[in-house]
Symmetry: C2
Subunit: 95 residues, 2 copies
């Protein structure tokens, strides 16, 4: 599924839920889900891990909906086939 | 672009970078990018906001690569056309 289709699907499922908490509340949910992903990473439980990755991308898409940002266009505008810092793929930055 | 294609593109651009810090270090980068997204949300600067959304989904894809998780499959397994809690679309959960 394309990124923008996933974002659109999230809008359809959750438009009513997401309208209430607004930007700040939706962002706080995303932060909570990122913390849960961090906990799941420590467990090495693949199913729990997949579950938390799903929640993070779902809340990221919901937040993008509330912020009126096209997540796919934003991502490809910056990262399309190259590192935005060095301009190469594979990235040749020194870390 | 499909979610799994974006994840694959991130792997191609950053496989060398991401192999060094491992799960914990890559997760810490994701957390930093989520914090930067939170700051950008306060500015109401659309371009800055798109830039930070791009970074968060890029680092989420990189983390999924390091964790060996298929982000698209995980997302659709949980959220395909329905809320995973109530099973409806639009969601009918009471918040």
């Amino acid at each position: 599924m394309q990124v923008h289709e996933f974002q659109k699907m999230m809008r359809h499922i959750y438009s009513q839920r997401d309208s209430a908490p607004g930007l700040e509340g939706t962002y706080d949910w995303l932060v909570d889900e990122v913390q849960e992903l961090g906990e799941a990473l420590k467990t090495h439980n693949k199913r729990a891990l997949e579950n938390e990755f799903a929640d993070v991308i779902a809340w990221l898409a919901s937040l993008a909906n509330v912020a009126n940002v096209d997540l796919e266009r934003a991502a490809l505008s910056k990262y399309h086939n190259k590192c935005p810092k060095c301009g190469h793929s594979p990235c040749q930055c020194v870390f």
